[in-house]
Symmetry: C2
Subunit: 171 residues, 2 copies
Amino acid sequence: MISVLRLGHRPERDKRATTHVFLVARAFGAEKIYYTGVRDRPIEENIAKVCNRWGGKIELKFVENAQLFLKKWLGSVVHLTMYGIPIQKAIDKIKKEKDILVVVGGEKVPSEIYKLSDFNIAVTNQPHSEIAALAVFLDRFFDGKELEMEFKDAKQIIIPNERGKTLKKIG
Amino acid sequence: MISVLRLGHRPERDKRATTHVFLVARAFGAEKIYYTGVRDRPIEENIAKVCNRWGGKIELKFVENAQLFLKKWLGSVVHLTMYGIPIQKAIDKIKKEKDILVVVGGEKVPSEIYKLSDFNIAVTNQPHSEIAALAVFLDRFFDGKELEMEFKDAKQIIIPNERGKTLKKIG
């Protein structure tokens, strides 16, 4: 099972980036999402609406203290950071771990997070995007099988279309 | 060669998301970036600074009219959209194309874009993030080789570190 922890959410500045992180977590097969920073009920409601419409259930929880949360985590902690070990060198080992918590940063990640993580993993050692890093990590972790996933109890699904939009309402 | 076109940039609302798109394009091996919407010089300067510091050269150009630009594009146009054909079904065919322009949307993508594209491709048929979709597309397109890329004339590089940050200044 994969869970995702988003660090240091600031409702004013991060609404969109955090929403992208949450939606990627859901679409790429994570089962639980946690976040620290400042609690943001509108964003929680937004994700609940997406699940209601597009199906699947994902637990979304605010966590007060990231360090404490990592210390208590019983499984394996994978922190995505441009400073880490290249994903292509570590992914086979990570696939053997259980109850993985994937941690993605906000602006400044405290150095303690690097120490509390079992793996610090880089999706390229270049600056880009925690949203992209999370997506590529999950795609590699699930070997692309997450792309075939179906979401339970969806009220609408997309029928793939070569030249337009086809949305099918269900029930 | 891969180029990326970001549609409908609004400096006020999209600064961060567009920056992520541009940085992903650079980090995952695109050679040119174009964008439409409203011209944003600070974002252009920001990307130039990243290239100056982290190496590589990427052309970044504002384009007035997306539709006209697509009509004149001599290579293949791949539009990333949740409504499209699953990437896993189309990627082998796309790999045979030349001079690919990968188009990623902003808020509302005009229906003409779907028609002007040679491929409308979905990275999952679920709502998530154009940033994530672009990263996974490029990772699949380059078969992960982009993760090994080195950037020319970098002033600093990261030495992968299991538990912290190692930045090496060059020259």
